[in-house]
């Protein structure tokens, strides 16, 4: 994973400084691969956009069969709440994935990154905050129940 992402996974996207600078670079570099790999997909919320890359098709096809097909699109789970963080994440992923796609340097069995895993985990509460308020109510912040240990297949089987 690239330095930038490490920085991000450590510091999140809180400080505007950290946010602004790399965002610029990213968009720059991002556009460079856009034409090639249709990274622009990242700016929309249309799941079909994700499948501009066949490597996303596995998730896409099983998402079509998933319980969430009708209720959540990719970006509902793979981008954080709030406009700035959302678009920052899109840019970051767009950059990483476009790069990976262009260079072909990524594993056959794709693994979610630590940072995006936190994003996906947090996304559940966008819609299910109430039902899990009880089980999380007896936990400190930062100790929330990890939904994906039991529900990792709700969005897509793999």
């Amino acid at each position: 994973m690239n330095i930038l992402e490490q920085v991000m996974s450590e510091h999140g996207y809180i400080t505007p400084l950290l946010l602004g600078v790399p965002l610029g670079i990213l968009l720059g570099l991002g556009f460079y691969t856009f034409g090639y790999a249709r990274g622009a997909a990242y700016m929309t919320d249309d799941p079909d956009a994700c499948t501009n890359c066949h490597v996303m098709r596995g998730q896409y096809e099983s998402w079509m069969k998933s319980s969430h097909r009708k209720v959540a699109v990719c970006n509902d789970c793979h981008t954080p709440a709030g406009l700035a963080p959302k678009y920052f994440t899109k840019a970051l992923n767009g950059f990483n994935h476009s790069m990976a796609f262009t260079t072909g340097r990524f594993p056959d069995e794709i693994r979610i990154t630590a940072r995006n895993h936190r994003v996906a985990e947090a996304s559940c509460e966008k819609c299910h905050a109430d039902i899990v308020s009880g089980i999380n109510g007896v936990r400190h912040d930062g100790e929330k129940v990890s939904c994906s240990t039991c529900h990792r297949a709700v969005g897509h089987a793999y």
């Binding site: 905050a129 109430d130 009880g134 089980i135 999380n136 007896v138 400190h140 100790e143 129940v145």
Partner: protein, 439 residues
């Protein structure tokens, strides 16, 4: 502001203090959990677990109108295994938490044998009683209660394990209230290079979902005259580690009546076995399977009806395993059946070692002649008891429990051979070159 509300979904009607023992009071704030908690009176049998509700006519001495089946009757070899020890007189299948106090008070192991207050640690809500005894010092209270005779100590408690034994009344967070676990886990962590481990401040929320159970579902012994409750973990949790601990401190639970071996009795090492299975390795906690989430109206809550997951497969397993309920059941039963078969091979071997030793003693063999066989007997009976006493019938750590059984068979047969003058040969260098122990 929704966050706010989210943090406090339960409508508090009463204030809970650190001395509120009665679960009914807690139940006013958490009626769903309380209702489920009360259901641990239910008795239902699974192929190898659960428990059978045997009706009996209450007597003056024993008011119970229902008990669980006797394991001694199910497998009489257990009587021979424990000859000379209280367990050979009365040992039943365990049942729900609601019965823990009455079953202890009424067992012939208490009625007919002298027992210390220590016994209560895992059979009653002792947290408040310990605080009081120790004048606010939990450890002092713990030590005081251990020393008391059972008959006296039991007067200090009235409830089976209750909310306060697992929860902090203010935050409802899980907490460990048993000194023996605090000390045991600290010793274990120390052996792994972690100094001064304090479970209540250093454990993760997920770990606590198993640690609260590990306060009781563990192997233990009573140390010294002060009858202190101790978990033998300072060298690790594997069978070999615990045996090494007992050998080092020179402990024996009793002398076997027929063989004269200084024997060890193992009890319910669910926590230790679970620790060596693939589930623990995957971060799956006791509560995940024995207290799975349950939807009650708009809320998910933990099923406080603690029981066999095989009575609750859909919630307990199918969140993670996408196979049919029937298939999940038969996977467990295949593992348990396999375990049971190996366990029986080992049990038969133990019976033969015991009868050989008995004969040798009767025919007046010398101490020196008996010693090697008695040492094998001590090891064999402890290892066999460890897997026998893990109430999952081999499920918590299928591989490790079978590995232990191969060793039990070897120990028993070597003991028999020793009695016939065979020299215990050196283990081939290979035998210890690899293997999980010490990994």
């Amino acid at each position: 502001e929704r966050k706010q509300e989210a943090r406090n979904p339960f409508f508090r009607v009463v204030e809970l203090a650190d001395d509120t023992i009665d679960p009914a009071v807690w139940g006013k704030n958490f009626p769903m959990q309380y209702d489920l908690y009360k259901r641990t009176v239910d008795q239902e049998r699974t192929r190898y677990g659960g428990s059978e509700a045997l009706p009996r006519t209450p007597t003056q001495a024993d008011p119970r109108s229902v008990v669980a089946q006797s394991k001694l009757e199910e497998d009489p070899r257990l009587v021979t295994m424990w000859k000379g020890y209280a367990f050979s007189v009365d040992f039943r299948e365990e049942r729900g938490h609601a019965y823990m106090l009455i079953d202890q008070r009424m067992t012939r192991r208490v009625q007919e044998f002298k027992q210390p207050g220590t016994c209560l640690q895992c059979h009653a809500s002792t947290y408040v009683a310990m605080q009081k005894l120790g004048g606010g010092d939990l450890f002092k209270g713990f030590e005081a209660m251990n020393k008391m005779p059972y008959a006296e100590a039991t007067k200090l408690v009235e409830h089976p394990v209750s909310c306060i034994d697992c929860h902090d009344p203010k935050t409802m967070r899980l907490r460990v209230t048993r000194p023996a676990f605090m000390e045991g886990i600290r010793a274990l962590k120390a052996s792994q290079g972690v100094a001064d481990y304090d479970v209540n401040t250093m454990a993760s929320a997920q770990e606590m979902r198993s640690f609260v159970c590990g306060q009781c579902h563990v192997e233990y012994y009573f140390k010294g005259d002060e009858k202190r409750l101790v978990f033998p973990w300072s060298k690790g949790l594997k069978a070999e580690n615990m045996l090494a601990y007992y050998d080092e401190v020179g402990h024996k639970d009793w002398v076997h009546a027929e063989t004269g071996a200084p024997a060890l009795k193992a009890q319910h090492p669910e926590f230790e076995m679970w620790n060596q299975g693939v589930h623990a390795r995957s971060g799956v906690a006791c509560a995940d399977c024995h207290m799975p989430y349950k939807r009650e109206g708009g809320l998910k809550i933990s099923d406080h009806h603690v029981r066999s997951p095989l009575l609750n497969v859909n919630r307990a397993c199918q969140g993670c395993h996408h196979f049919s309920e029937q298939e999940m059941k038969s996977r467990v039963e295949e593992i348990q059946g396999r375990f049971h078969m190996a366990r029986n091979v080992a049990m038969d071997a133990l019976m033969e070692l015991i009868s050989d030793l008995k004969k040798a003693k009767e025919s007046g063999a010398s101490e020196a002649a008996l010693k090697p066989a008695q040492e094998f007997h001590r090891k064999a009976t402890f290892f066999l008891d460890l897997v026998e006493a893990d109430n999952s019938s081999g499920f918590h750590a299928p591989g490790e429990e079978l590995r232990i059984l191969t060793q039990v068979v070897d120990f028993c047969r070597k003991g028999q051979l020793a009695l016939r003058g065979a020299q215990p040969t050196q283990k081939a260098s290979h035998a210890t070159s690899t293997g999980p122990v010490g990994d």
